[in-house]
Amino acid sequence: MRAPLLQLTEAGLYCPRGDFFIDPLKTVPRAVITHGHSDHARPGMGAYLCHNDSIPILQHRFRGRGIFDGLQYSERRVVNGITLSLHPAGHILGSAQVRLEADGEVWVVSGDYKRQPDPLAPAFEPQQCNVFITESTFGLPIYQWPDVDDVMQEMHAWWRGNIERDMISMVQAYPLGKAQRLLFLLDRSIGPIYLHASVADMYMALRASGIDLPDAEILTAATPPSLLRSALVITPGMTDAERLGSSAMAMASGWMAVRAQRQRSPSGVGFVLSDHVDWPDLHRTIDETQAETVYVTHGYEDDVVRYLHEQGRDARPLAHLAIARR
């Protein structure tokens, strides 16, 4: 039997025949990157291959250091006899699934992904494959995302209520991905939208690279609180809450689906908005790939594997790839 196309090593997922890593954890000569989040794209690699839209993100995050090579979605690249291509993952700008093909066998690494629409990420395209490696951040059946319109309606009602109570609205969101998605989703007729410095940092970098983002104000130390009366501030944390005076804080995240997690969050208020697949979409996706074998990583591996076994599927936690060498 042939060796598997991918192995799990200390440095992460490795393709021995192509001699490259996918989202490596340690410094390696060649890295294929699914998307620009810091738990997937790390600095210091010899060379990077990713989607074209991820390049400005990586360049910004690594302060320009690195050798970057970009692909379009579906563009094929042959590396030592392995045909590699990237396909939309719908997670954030530039996010991609990695498809590897050799001798008629196809492996797909999902990276992070979602099936809900995103203004900056083309819709996820399921790839038929023999082996599918899927994330499982929200891999429990309690995670079923509500309609985005309903969530935004709630957030807008909360924002309006805060204006009535003379409080600035602060929404905690990841600077890359969630923050830009919110910029598209928020209703500007309610009030101005401000970006906290570290959110603004990524916003300006993306704009400078030619990405079309809606206008937003930048929050600086000099912004007088009086200008923020009816504002909503997108912030990565609670950093500015004190300086700005009376403010209401909320978190936008998939974890907010569970009340106890909402109450455990620093603000106690949450809106269910996620850039990852929920439980129904996770299993719909697995079905659509028609994979014979599913490896599960990045979250609730054991639970998703257990459910797939109940469905009669061949599924394993990704850790098994480390000892699966035959």
């Binding site: 309690i142 079923q144 509500p146 709630e154 609670m238 569970v258 106890a260 109450q263 129904p280 639970d303």
Partner: protein, 471 residues
Amino acid sequence: MHGHLPISLLHDGDRTMQRFTHLLAALERSRRPADVVRAVQTYANAVHDEELAAARTLLTQGMRKRIVPTTDLRAWTCDASGLQEHWIDRCLADVGNISETCALLIPAPLQHDPPSVTSVLAMCTAKRISSDERMVWVQQAWQCMHADERRVFNQILTGTFRPLIDAEVFDLAFDDMPLPVPLRTALPLPSDLASLGSIHDHVVEWLVEGSRVEVVMAAGRVMMWSSDHTIVHRDEITAHLRASMPSTTDMILDAMIVERNGGAQLIVLDLLRYDGVDQRGFPYTDRRHLLRTIPGIRCVEELECEAWSDLADHLAHARDHGHGGVVVKQREAWYDDEGALYAQHVAPYTLTAVLTYVQFLSEYRTPAPLLQCTFSVWKGAELVPLCKIDDTLRDDHAIDIAAWARKNIVDRFGPIRQVEAVRVFEIGCTQVAHAPRKKSTLQLRNAHVIAERADVRLDQISTIDSILRQL
């Protein structure tokens, strides 16, 4: 999955369960009376009177009667979700309660058309309903609701819906009773007293120790609020106020309830509203003058001071008069003026202690969490709990501690969480007394957090012996 059943008997087209769920969310976010009243009014404007009455019953009395046993809830959830029962237990571990777990496991509604709260309560109280009929009804209702509505629905059915607010607070949304206003807090008196200006521009009063209350009198009624926005019921005080003042009185007082000789006494500190007029924008001298003209109330005693140096004398005698220190107020300041109110406790004791236990006092969150922290000191080689503090922790610091504590839980004892003993704080108190029955053998009075002391190591914090030496 079972078939889609007709649901006409359930829905009222007004999405009232959704509105009720939104009301609950607003109450969870804030219990400030003004916010509660606003949320109740918004709800009342959107629903029928019958629905409002049902909401009032639930919010003020809760639903303690179990209509559906959890075994049924589980079985029906498996049926509706197609999941095996062990998934319920698996998810329960992450979610924490069965009503919400089941609510989250049901697939999204085909058509969002939730039942009215009235119809849910009617079903709960209906006699002569077979359990099969009830099952069909519950499963139909699930299919028309979002997860958060299903959670509330399940809580009602399983008798785990707890009362959230006092009926008196709910009813404030519908009468003309003025709402309490934020009470100001005193700053610590600066060590350089001259920096405050002339003593003659200030009034010096005793620092009264007791429970801070806001007394609202209007429409022949008297309501007292604590500083954390709950209603304080002290009949002897309210009865006395009602008896000694005309029923037309429209007034808000900043006051202190003092327990003395087995009875409670109200000591008035300031006047916030009089004759229907907000007084907070007038100088303190005017407010104080007006206060002295009101019969039937006792005001805080003013102290004579000719020079700042007289303050030390008063401080030295505060305990003899049963007071905790002195307060300095600017004569011409508005009520809310920053830096117009200073307080100095009698020679406060200080010590350093480590945070060892945390209790989240309220299941529902107010803007600042209601935390109770237990601080411990060394007794030999053992850390023993010395004091519990909740009052002074209601600020951003508390939010930080709450977030940290939740991540650093070592053990659980009922509602109390033991946390890793690493965060050291400087604690102040006005009195240390012997308490042989306590493990620490000490009892602190008015214990409060002065500051976090990251510079003090765990092995350097106070010991029982070092505290005793201070006495």
